[in-house]
Symmetry: C2
Subunit: 893 residues, 2 copies
């Protein structure tokens, strides 16, 4: 039979899945000999069994009884014993911390009878009644589902009646009276009295903790934090120690280093004569640890020694909760402390310097998301701007602009060159154009999976959502901050998509010093400790990673920047962007060409322009591989919109004055119009259908490479064919390009090049062995592959149903943001295996947007890709995550 | 080392891949002891090596030498020997017959010297010179690449000079003079004389046969007939026998039964004093076999005996070529004879009755395509209409209508209720609407892979293409048949998409007697021998097949018809069709509903209508499973077109008179407008996003089933969820439907139903094991699965680039017509395996259009599906092919 209950002495810190984080760490501290109140843990197995059956599993009550008896024996008193009761705390503790989400009941075991015993034993009437009213309060709210305000109002009434400010000013009699009131309120609200059987109290509290796993807010929190729903929580039953036994008692929290800056030195808060919930509730002002040293030197010294022990033992910054009962220190919790990105890099760097951890471990202490946060522009920290409200930081960045309250205004104002912030209660697909036009998006409702959040992250737009203190009146074009200012349409506001802070007026934006560091533009002496920490991490990362990192770049300028950011080549150079701007006319000529001669003329006009583009890019990436993709999108993208042009023509017809060019253009727009352009005439299909198009592009690439070589350069062009589904398509194109290469070799001398293909259709992945016979490299196009594998296009569905899909739990995260490793990943794995089986020296990379996403990079490492390619700004993130993946894989192996 | 050359005595009829069809059958006849002239075969291996290297492979010349020497020894004379030359025929012969595509050279070995020896040995000057001029003629055209007309003109000149009509009227001297002329022409056109070395003649002829594999017309033929390009041809080198040695000689072709009707009794043509090419060329009128009996009883009797032997040996109708040299019969070729669909069924049935073959073998003698051809309406065979021209039958059926010459007219006339035939030189995507509107399509250019052919087949429209004798003038709106009538726009024409025949005026269309048989509407006494044959085949098929056959049917009427055609349930009932017509307004109300109440009201209005639909369908399929798919297409399909409505609104605005309903409608059309509706908000996504929609449909189904049950019926509804990519989607919908089912059970009593999903997205196939945990059945939607796997939509690309893809050999056949077993098939296989692994009793079918395609059905059998579902008309085809697949699988195992 499954064992459900563990004594603290039976566990250790590695058993978080079974004992929860709190239980595992209490066990660890117990075994370290630190002063932990005795107790036991009911495992997450029990919780899962409870969730499955709706009742405590067989055997659990007996195990609880057994451990409780042992605890009673150790403490020499029984739970709720009339003359000297054992009291226990019942605390939830899941594997992953869910702060504020789950439940705790303290002082379990007090009854109308044993409260007198406690008073007698402690010699303190006031303490006993205070403890009892706390139990009634927590039990009522947590176990019996009463509104907390019921108790808070009664407490306020007594304080107001007595004319006192603080709870601690209430006398024993006041508190005794409050206990009577609380019991009456409990009876009124629940139809039953507060249970006077201590075991019943305990059992109900344990069930309540199990139940708290599935409250709506806990579920919502897990969805946002990507915590699986089926883990369940453990329950810790711990002998009570009391911070509320008078001035020699108290409770506090502390960090072994500063979690904001990463500075060395302990850091914490202490509250005299209080229990834990008083600290969190912020009822009274807390003291510093220095104050504790003054008040109770012995406890302070013990605390310092324990914190040093813990940091050394955990080899990381720790976060602890402690209680002092009558000048005796007790540890109630510890865990590895959460920290800001800045602190993460600095703590890792310091601990490496202190010799506590090695360089691989230091890498595991930071991550790409933190590095990315350090690279976003931030509001100037020296500014004295104070936020007027705080929402959820849903998509990072710092945005400043005039507040606008509807999409049309956003578009209109942006078109005339103004920066705007779109403010809405919540957004829907109609707001899309406004979101595109705005610098940032601010909503008063919805969480991290709301439409605004999902779409803004998708388009890289700064977003703060769910700022609930904002009253947004879109009709009137204004919002009012609760107890704060009113902002009218046109007023400038500033929003921080990382912290969720909202400011009125313009807040200065500071460039990231980390970006300056990567750019090489840091002035002498500007180099901070943080920059040193990042520098050290990047150096080790580059030596550690197996994955190469390339950039997606379409211009020489982007290529040069990417190279400064550490890119080892270009993984995707999109040629269609070179067909826009002034050249659009030439493309239009190509499309409306009446015959082969006109078509050829249009291609000839494009050739020197393309060659020049490639010459510059190859120069910027001299010595490194440059993967150039043949033109990919449907041709109609270079022509006017069908509906717009149709309306224009209809009006011309009504006026009896049709323009010939428009008429011809409309004919071609209609001809090229597709119901589903994503599934239409694009990629290699264009190359096969339009004679000369790919040949012109190949010629431009090869001539550029030949010219670079003649000029002493070292060009490494790789020609990439998009949207290949069948090796026969690749063969047709390959033969044509080989023909061009032979001509160019005769004209300008031979050039080495590789020819490969994107793997972005499910068929290409399934038949990768055949395709590899004609391809020297593969590059997974994960954006299209995701679209085809799921059967939805990013443009169409991300805005219409992704927030619903996130809400009902079909996605943890948009598959366009982080690779769907189960589905799309299975095809990638298949493609890599089949491709390498057919051609062992095949090199394989990825050039979809997932190439810069941390979670996805770990998958790409695991599956054995040679490189990832991402936007220039994500190159450092990818370098770091590639190394973390390599280090994890090794240690995990 | 590979052996390249085989004596006839070394081979047999099973070796077609190695020896070609002709060589393998000559070997078989040799070993049967039939009179086959001695010779040998150069294998297809040699041809493939030649194609790879461009030269004869090492070892081949020596092997040829060796076999030639053996042949010379057997015949007692050497190739081209001056006084009595051995002459040989060099004939191509691929594994699959390619009539008229490949090359033959007869009389190899004749030279200026040996022609005299032949004359002397045969005692016939005229015969010798006739043989020589034939060699020069064939060698010039085939080996040296000269225009055949060069020789034909010279021959005509001599005949005209001598004042004779027939070749046989020319004297030895005339022919000798012609030889001189032919040699001069050869020198003039090729710059070299006709080779006088007999071995050089032989080697060049062998190379020419190899080369003939890759002529453009051979490649085109193979593409149309789906013959792979890399098989190559064998070369037969056979001692010559002469049908041109005077009146006691001749040549002929014969069938052991009538290939048109299937009637018992031999059937053939004979030509006196001629070589094989004269029969094919149709230069003189042929005689019947009865004439041969009269002319040469002994040879006739021998032929009859041999034909009986062959039919008994091959256990099938045979097609032979023979030559009589001086009253001695020689067999030059045999093979299993091609036949019409009617003959196929009748021959199979007769041979079964004769005890020659068993019922399984009889099944292999017919196929679904033939059955389908028998089911198409055909022009009345009793009509005396004569075709005015014949093109290629590109998409079967019989269509009658007024000729129109542009798409707009076709649409306009069709809209006013007229039947039209769209006539074009060739079609392009602009003609699509016209093709949809027309009864049939006729083009003067392009083959079976032309745009017109591909698109017409895709939409099941009758099509005749490449009718080259038509001069189509679209500007003037008429076509003229070469040496025939002129048809003006509006004149009625009739086209036969099976035979390619074109008639002026209306030809009566006869219903298929086979359809009447399936319908059960054949009158007593109307039952022909063909019907009996089909009936026997279908009976055996039904007992033999493992695959069940269901129909795709959306109405009770279709369901009833499908049942008459043998359907064992409905595999796909599309509910969206039930939302059209009068109900469109309700759907519009649902979409533009302002709030939940309005939405609910619209759903409530739809409920009784849907329930009635389902009640009728369940009644028509009482006792059989009925799979009903929840609404699948994007909602905007129920609304007006965006561009049309935008133009309407723009005009209303210009006129200052905007209609409110149009304004609101446009808002919703814009909201629902998608760039790629195929990849948008459809299928299960609709069900998750629009509360109550699937629930309403489920309620309608379950209430209908409960009502049927209450009325004593036996309903088997299966609820199918479309476009599922993740098991979590299915779980969300399943929970909602279960809720509805519980309610309905309370209200009307419990109903058994199954809940399953379509597998039509690559992700669903890859993760079929997870999905199977929540699905009681799978139905592969091969149309969508093909779209997503290849990344193209049928609507968009079939019209724009499929003909190019077929032309350059990327497809053998459109993957929407016949399943892409390599790519899409791999996903289906994976889906079946994973699904069954997770749920062994999962039942699995297919409901895409491939369910009625013969090739695809064999794949579905092999992969272990439980059933296929197809349109009612294809049900008999599927029944037959399912049985053929089962029989093949067994015999092949």
């Amino acid at each position: 039979m499954t064992k459900f209950v563990y004594d603290f002495a039976e566990g250790n810190k590695e058993q978080k899945d079974l004992l929860g984080g709190k239980g595992a760490n209490l066990a660890e501290m117990t075994n370290l000999g630190l002063p932990v109140p005795p107790g036991f843990v009911i495992s997450t197995d029990a919780c899962r069994a409870y969730m499955a059956d709706g009742d405590l599993p067989d055997g659990l009550p007996a195990e609880i009884e057994e451990h409780l008896t042992a605890l009673e024996e150790e403490r020499g008193k029984r739970l709720g014993q009339a003359d000297d009761p054992l009291l226990v705390a019942v605390r939830s503790g899941a594997a992953t911390s869910m702060p504020g989400m789950m439940e705790t009941v303290l002082n379990v075991g007090l009854t109308d009878e044993s409260v007198h015993g406690l008073a007698a034993a402690a010699g303190d009437e006031r303490f006993a009644w205070d403890s009892y009213r706390r139990l009634l309060q927590m039990f009522g709210a947590t176990v019996l589902g009463m509104e907390p305000a019921v108790f808070a109002d009664a407490l306020d009434a007594v304080k107001s009646d007595r004319g006192v400010e603080l709870d601690t000013d209430l006398s024993a009699e006041d508190l005794q009276e409050l206990v009577v009131t609380y019991q009456r309120l409990t009876e009124e609200h629940t139809g039953r009295g507060f249970p006077q059987d201590p075991r019943e109290q305990l059992d109900l509290a344990i069930r309540a903790v199990f139940e708290s796993w599935n409250t709506d807010r806990a579920k919502l929190y897990r969805r946002q934090e990507r915590i699986p729903d089926d883990l369940g929580t453990a329950v810790n039953v711990v002998a009570m120690v009391f911070g509320n036994r008078g001035p020699g008692s108290g409770t506090g929290v502390a960090f072994t280093r500063d979690p904001a800056s990463g500075n060395q030195g302990v850091y914490g808060d202490y509250l005299e004569n209080a229990q834990g919930e008083d600290v969190v509730a912020g009822i009274r002002n807390t003291l510093s640890l220095a104050d504790l040293e003054r008040l109770d030197k012995a406890s302070y010294d013990a605390l310092m020694e324990i914190m040093a022990t813990l940091e050394q033992h955990y080899q990381d910054m720790c976060d602890i909760e402690f209680t002092i009962e009558d000048r005796k220190l007790w540890m109630l919790q510890t865990r590895v402390g959460k920290r800001t990105p800045k602190a993460a890099f600095r703590v890792a760097s310091h601990m490496l310097a202190e010799g506590v951890i090695d360089a691989d471990e230091a890498l595991q202490r930071v991550n790409g998301d933190q590095l990315a946060q350090l690279m976003f522009p931030r509001f100037d920290l020296d500014s004295d701007a104070e936020p007027v409200a705080t929402g959820m930081g849903a998509s990072p960045g710092a945005a400043v602009g005039k507040a606008v309250f509807d999409s049309a205004t956003a578009v209109e104002w942006a078109a005339r060159g103004e920066d705007v912030i779109l403010v809405r209660r919540e957004t829907n697909p109609d707001d899309l154009k406004g979101m595109v036009a705005a610098q940032g998006v601010l909503t008063s409702r919805g969480g991290k999976t709301s439409h605004a959040a999902v779409v803004a992250r998708g388009m890289g737009r700064t977003c703060v959502c769910g700022a609930e203190t904002l009253d947004v009146d879109t009709e009137a074009g204004r919002f009012t901050v609760r107890d704060g200012p009113t902002v009218e349409q046109g007023d400038v506001i500033s929003i921080d998509g990382t912290t969720g802070e909202i400011f009125t007026g313009e807040v200065a934006v500071a460039d990231s010093e980390i970006v300056k560091y990567f750019e090489g533009s840091l002035e002498e002496g500007e180099r901070s400790d943080l920059v040193d920490a990042v520098d050290a991490a990047m150096h080790h990362a580059d030596s550690r990673r197996r994955l190469r990192v390339r950039a997606n770049a379409d211009t020489a300028e982007d290529a040069a920047r990417a190279r400064r950011f550490g890119a080892e080549g270009i993984g995707l150079c999109r040629t269609e962007h070179m067909f826009l701007g002034d050249r659009r006319q030439l493309v239009e000529d190509l499309i409306v060409a009446g015959d082969a001669t006109e078509q050829e003329a249009a291609l000839q006009a494009l050739l020197p322009l393309q060659r020049q583009d490639f010459t510059e890019i190859l120069e910027a990436m001299d010595g490194l591989p440059v993967t150039i993709r043949m033109i990919d999108p449907p041709l109609h993208e270079f022509l006017p919109d069908l509906t717009d042009l149709s309306i224009k023509l209809a009006r011309q017809k009504d006026a009896g004055d049709v323009e010939e060019r428009d008429r011809v253009l409309l004919e071609h727009v209609r001809r090229l119009h597709e119901q589903n352009p994503m599934l239409g005439l694009r990629g290699v299909r264009l190359g096969i259908l339009i004679p000369g198009l790919f040949e012109m592009q190949a010629r431009a690439i090869l001539e550029a490479a030949a010219d670079r070589k003649a000029a002493g350069g070292d060009p490494h062009p790789e020609i990439m064919i998009p949207l290949v589904a069948s090796v026969r398509e690749l063969d047709v194109v390959r033969r044509r390009i080989q023909g061009v290469a032979e001509q160019v070799a005769e004209e300008r001398g031979p050039v080495d090049y590789e020819l490969g293909t994107m793997i972005e259709l499910p068929r290409a992945a399934v038949l990768a062995d055949r395709i590899a016979k004609s391809a020297e490299f593969f590059s997974f196009g994960t954006n299209d592959l995701t679209q085809m594998t799921w059967g939805f296009s990013r443009d169409d569905v991300e805005t219409s149903f992704f927030s619903t899909y996130l809400d009902v739990g079909i996605f943890d995260v948009s598959p366009f943001e982080s690779l769907d490793t189960q589905g799309v990943g299975a095809l990638i794995r298949l493609g890599v295996e089949k491709g390498r089986a057919a051609r062992p020296d095949l090199h394989v990379g990825v050039c979809g947007e997932h190439g810069g996403d941390p979670r996805s990079i770990h998958f790409f490492h695991d599956v054995g890709l040679d490189y990832v390619s991402c936007s220039p700004f994500r190159v450092p993130v990818a370098r770091l995550e590639a190394a973390r993946a390599a280090a994890t894989a090794k240690s995990g192996a």
